[in-house]
Symmetry: D3
Subunit: 270 residues, 6 copies
Amino acid sequence: MFYHDRQLQYKVRVEKPNPEFAKLLQQAIGGVEGEIRVCLQYLFQAWNSRGPQKYRDMLLETGTEEISHIEMLATAVALNLEGASTALKEKMAASNPLVESVLGGKDPRHILSAGLGAMAADSNGVPFNGSWIVSSGNIAADMHANVYAEATGRVLATRLWEMTDDPGMKDMLSFLIARDTMHQNQWMAVLEDLGNVHPIPNSFPQSQENQQFNYTFVSTNINQEPSPHTRWTEGPSVDGKGTFTFMHAEPMGGMPDLSKPDPLTHAQTE
Amino acid sequence: MFYHDRQLQYKVRVEKPNPEFAKLLQQAIGGVEGEIRVCLQYLFQAWNSRGPQKYRDMLLETGTEEISHIEMLATAVALNLEGASTALKEKMAASNPLVESVLGGKDPRHILSAGLGAMAADSNGVPFNGSWIVSSGNIAADMHANVYAEATGRVLATRLWEMTDDPGMKDMLSFLIARDTMHQNQWMAVLEDLGNVHPIPNSFPQSQENQQFNYTFVSTNINQEPSPHTRWTEGPSVDGKGTFTFMHAEPMGGMPDLSKPDPLTHAQTE
Amino acid sequence: MFYHDRQLQYKVRVEKPNPEFAKLLQQAIGGVEGEIRVCLQYLFQAWNSRGPQKYRDMLLETGTEEISHIEMLATAVALNLEGASTALKEKMAASNPLVESVLGGKDPRHILSAGLGAMAADSNGVPFNGSWIVSSGNIAADMHANVYAEATGRVLATRLWEMTDDPGMKDMLSFLIARDTMHQNQWMAVLEDLGNVHPIPNSFPQSQENQQFNYTFVSTNINQEPSPHTRWTEGPSVDGKGTFTFMHAEPMGGMPDLSKPDPLTHAQTE
Amino acid sequence: MFYHDRQLQYKVRVEKPNPEFAKLLQQAIGGVEGEIRVCLQYLFQAWNSRGPQKYRDMLLETGTEEISHIEMLATAVALNLEGASTALKEKMAASNPLVESVLGGKDPRHILSAGLGAMAADSNGVPFNGSWIVSSGNIAADMHANVYAEATGRVLATRLWEMTDDPGMKDMLSFLIARDTMHQNQWMAVLEDLGNVHPIPNSFPQSQENQQFNYTFVSTNINQEPSPHTRWTEGPSVDGKGTFTFMHAEPMGGMPDLSKPDPLTHAQTE
Amino acid sequence: MFYHDRQLQYKVRVEKPNPEFAKLLQQAIGGVEGEIRVCLQYLFQAWNSRGPQKYRDMLLETGTEEISHIEMLATAVALNLEGASTALKEKMAASNPLVESVLGGKDPRHILSAGLGAMAADSNGVPFNGSWIVSSGNIAADMHANVYAEATGRVLATRLWEMTDDPGMKDMLSFLIARDTMHQNQWMAVLEDLGNVHPIPNSFPQSQENQQFNYTFVSTNINQEPSPHTRWTEGPSVDGKGTFTFMHAEPMGGMPDLSKPDPLTHAQTE
Amino acid sequence: MFYHDRQLQYKVRVEKPNPEFAKLLQQAIGGVEGEIRVCLQYLFQAWNSRGPQKYRDMLLETGTEEISHIEMLATAVALNLEGASTALKEKMAASNPLVESVLGGKDPRHILSAGLGAMAADSNGVPFNGSWIVSSGNIAADMHANVYAEATGRVLATRLWEMTDDPGMKDMLSFLIARDTMHQNQWMAVLEDLGNVHPIPNSFPQSQENQQFNYTFVSTNINQEPSPHTRWTEGPSVDGKGTFTFMHAEPMGGMPDLSKPDPLTHAQTE
Ligand SMILES: [Ca+2]
Ligand SMILES: [Ca+2]
Ligand SMILES: [Ca+2]
Ligand SMILES: [Ca+2]
Ligand SMILES: [Ca+2]
Ligand SMILES: [Ca+2]
């Protein structure tokens, strides 16, 4: 069950409102690298957790924190939009529309649909999509999804940090970047706790997987170049359970052979 | 540039066609855990690669292999659908529709839209979505996305393996599971090659991130329970650059304060 | 800022796990009538609120409660799926796949993608979509969106209530239906507070709208039938600002006249 | 069954073509607040109507009118795009692309995909989505969806009206705003006709809903602040069937308790 | 501008309601091959038409007819759903849920979301998507899109015809199939009218296209098999403007060479 | 099975990087007219092909070539983005954000999400969607889908060619336009090979379609104007199997008559 406080987790100040930066910030709210995604992802992982309890608890703790990050960013968007519609109207009136860009890099829906507020969408206005939520029922797979989410999330936040000179925005992003550092570490800590065991899932008997292709790098290069002698073409596999080898791709499956069309499907007759 | 062979990478046999299993296999084609996703993901990462060359090469090699996996699974879907429309029509004619299920767990579009062929969609018929493709411009972030993709992909393949007794299908899945083992190892090998450096991105100066919150577990539990003394609440951080601490969440950001609505947005007047 | 408790808002019991009911429950989680939608909708309305404070507070209170409803339903899905994969495997093995339905009304991704957990999707597996979140910057418009959301949400919940005989599920739904009753009343209370003023937005000067068509029912029926003498064709308008009239549709705009194609767009030449 | 006339319902003139305004107008065509949405929504409600006839008739009348609104707006988009590609090409050639914005706030697909015509998409180019169509089988719920649709639609139209100085566009929008006024009134007239009965659906026996939580405002604020004494925390409920009370949220559901993972789902073993 | 009649274009009778067939029919309403698609496609092509008038007129005529087809199919869905919820409830109550399929091939949202009505979605419940609407500004390209749409639409309708024995449904489909025959012919008649000129667009000077690759079949088969001597590898091209030749694919573009990462994007440093 | 070469199919040079043109090029990668679509479309048609072999082969050949086109365009996007982030940062710092457009016509996700690389999305950032892939099981329908795809693809490429003065980009587009010419011809060659038989599917007995409406142009114009005497209203039908006639639309289906609502769906009671 959930509760809230009227205050923000961390301060959100904007010295010079900038509707273009508001558009950029949307990526961190409703984009694939954004806070709605990690929020729902950690919460669903918690709710679907079938043990151990300490992992469920942690996921619930951090999933809850992420709601506060959405809140901070939504506030930042609203603050960056202040004054935007008046400015835009003035410029619209003054412009020669076939020559001059008025809307520029603004999101038109920030005015048209949201009345100068934040939306559940990315920086191109593409809506948040529930298909991004990973909760697979395998905790190691989920933790890798989480490390990836925090890695791309931190990459995004550092790019946003580069794109602004507003001290308030830089400070807020500095906080969010720090939290991404911690969260990357958290999920790696769970993986360490789990023994960093690979391949995932570790519950499938590896004896059942094809033994000739589970540690072989298959080169599909038509020029049949020799092995590049890299970490992934020779030596012990990273999971410690095999030895990397190298081979040139060759077809082993023959030509596929499908039956003639079923008359009921009304294929074309010749 | 790309080439093909008329033969399959590995043999695809179906002893007893099963349209319900064809529906399940769609998840491995057009689902978020499926082969179209990894195929395009590795290829885009290769095409966008700004060095070193060995990583670009590897991504191109394996991205190309994944096309062959889509091909195998599409063939498997088509083979599992053979006879389905005739059988369905017979059952449709015989049934009392308000009592008996005819379509059952089949995908109706396998007949209606594809004429007993595979589709670029998941096991519920939801279309493949390009937003799943991760190519972030940061290779470590991308590799974590790849490990996650192969982890959930292998989890999916093992579940499909459990759901069938068809020896041809089990053999094909045994091959695909083996490849997922290798591919998980490959991406981890790149991460090892890169020094397993965290946090990602490692090019952002950590001195610029908030120093009070980058290694602190924030507990949002309302009951203010004490630290659980876990790997992620005390001791050295996994990245080796900090020390985990534990704190109870508290608001530091004050109440947000937005301006009054801009008249041009036509908020409600009271 | 947000907090949680490890306990649920209301008890969630399932006597007889039923994976088909788990599929139905997904509509109340990730469907357009579901709890993720109202949760994010109320929270975004709160975060974008530019006053008065009492409305922002209420939206934050109730948006937070809705997270707890997602949690309850996700738990209900997980409980309804217990035993499902074993049962399915047994049936899959025993079946004659061209004759008998095995998957039936189950969601295949509940096993394949979620490992017997809940997903951010509707009862057909279509992902939650951020475009459903309404936060328009006009509080009266938002409140109508909220009344509608709770009305369809309560309709959905009563249908789910009809579809189950499980006492635990009926009890949980009875609670959620009660909350929908309250929430419908809440949003109507805000509208009452606002004076139930129409048309929305009330800040646009009605003198600027076309005065011949703002209270006229336009009948597009080709047979030019006379007025049906209904509440919406005569008498005072519901907003109290006009008088309903009735007219037959007739074109006033003439034929549209577009220029010839621009050569740069490469229209077909004839 | 449907018919058309070659003429427009109302005149559509553009004095100064403005491709940026064409982009804004797309929100009123293919956006969530737009005319395709209301058109299909009213028509589906009519087609699914199971009585009384007068409501079906009205829905069909107005759903048909909305097609004419899509037509007007599509014409307005095409007129605003005239000259755009030539102007853009000239500017593209002259510009220093790393310094100067050429495309600005234009929708690139207006040239690339539509050849200077309108699209079934919103102002960010996000395609119209059928999930927005509400036809619930409960007429009161549908009418609230309709009031909300016309409220956000009218808010959108007033914002578009503010953003242009073109007299032709202002005149067209003045007509569409007037129609939104009427349509808001129409749907409210149906609700009045239905007795403004709440909660919706009124066919579910309220005795079956949880009696302790159907008129209680649940405060999720962690600080347990006292009741704000508002319209929604005390006094008679708006539906006239209960009395508002106020309580602080507390968990009643205990800790959820899911079973251990099913081995067939290949959760991680520890 | 548009008008309607209360009557249907053609009679819609259902002798034995069948909710599974209702699900199948959804493909013809909201699927990619369905009537909403062709309706909006022809109407947008008409509205965007920049001449000649006879094509605009025809598109408007037929686009209007398609609305009547959506109406017929929506009615057919509603009629096929009659009795479905009662039957389902009875079966739900009687079933042993882990063994027996209850929902089977029904669309759960037909009850949960639509209350036994039609939806703007396909046979898997995936919403209609505006990206399917083709209106390119080149009439020949549009006509090919239309021929394709009617071809797949007629294929779909014949499959639906095969899947039912209900005489009313067969009669309705026989009418819709006939209309698809006519509409295929109509769009081909326009192409004939336009001179069946290829390649499309015919306004681009072919002298500007690469002259070595515009009539050459490029074989990407790794085995460098000889030309198959088919219609598309030798002889005059179908457009009458070139001669087909055959070649084996070979790379002409060299290795791509991207710059090192820009520091501001925070790629990983090594 | 598939192979690759490290080299590109054709050279990709960019003299003056232009991030706005990079945005335009995305339409040719991930847009509905783009290369991912044709690539997957031809491959799925090949994989689902049930004969004859020569068509399967050709589809596989050309589907494989299209992967090389995605690669070329992705490379072109990356090259056009070089220098973009530094330039943008400088401009961002210098600008008065409420007055001047900085982002202009750039895609913000090119920096934020892709780190100056290509994405699987269109020119508005809308992700590629698998619903665009047509593989119907009827080869004539598929070929028309392919002609349409190459027609809109070539229209798009010529518009891109118009929008740039960069000689490298013009040269690359000149190659892609040439390939579109060839591919249009290829699919028409298959149709010629198949006898250009209509209507599609030709396997459905035309005697089963309604004989009064299969060659009749239905005019839905309310003004009942006389026949326009066009190619599609009189004379032999294009398929050679009927004679075009002209009629005014009239309703033949009567009024639809649905049952009263089922109580279990909780319609509103009055
Ligand atoms: Ca975060
Ligand atoms: Ca694979
Ligand atoms: Ca709720
Ligand atoms: Ca309207
Ligand atoms: Ca039709
Ligand atoms: Ca191509």
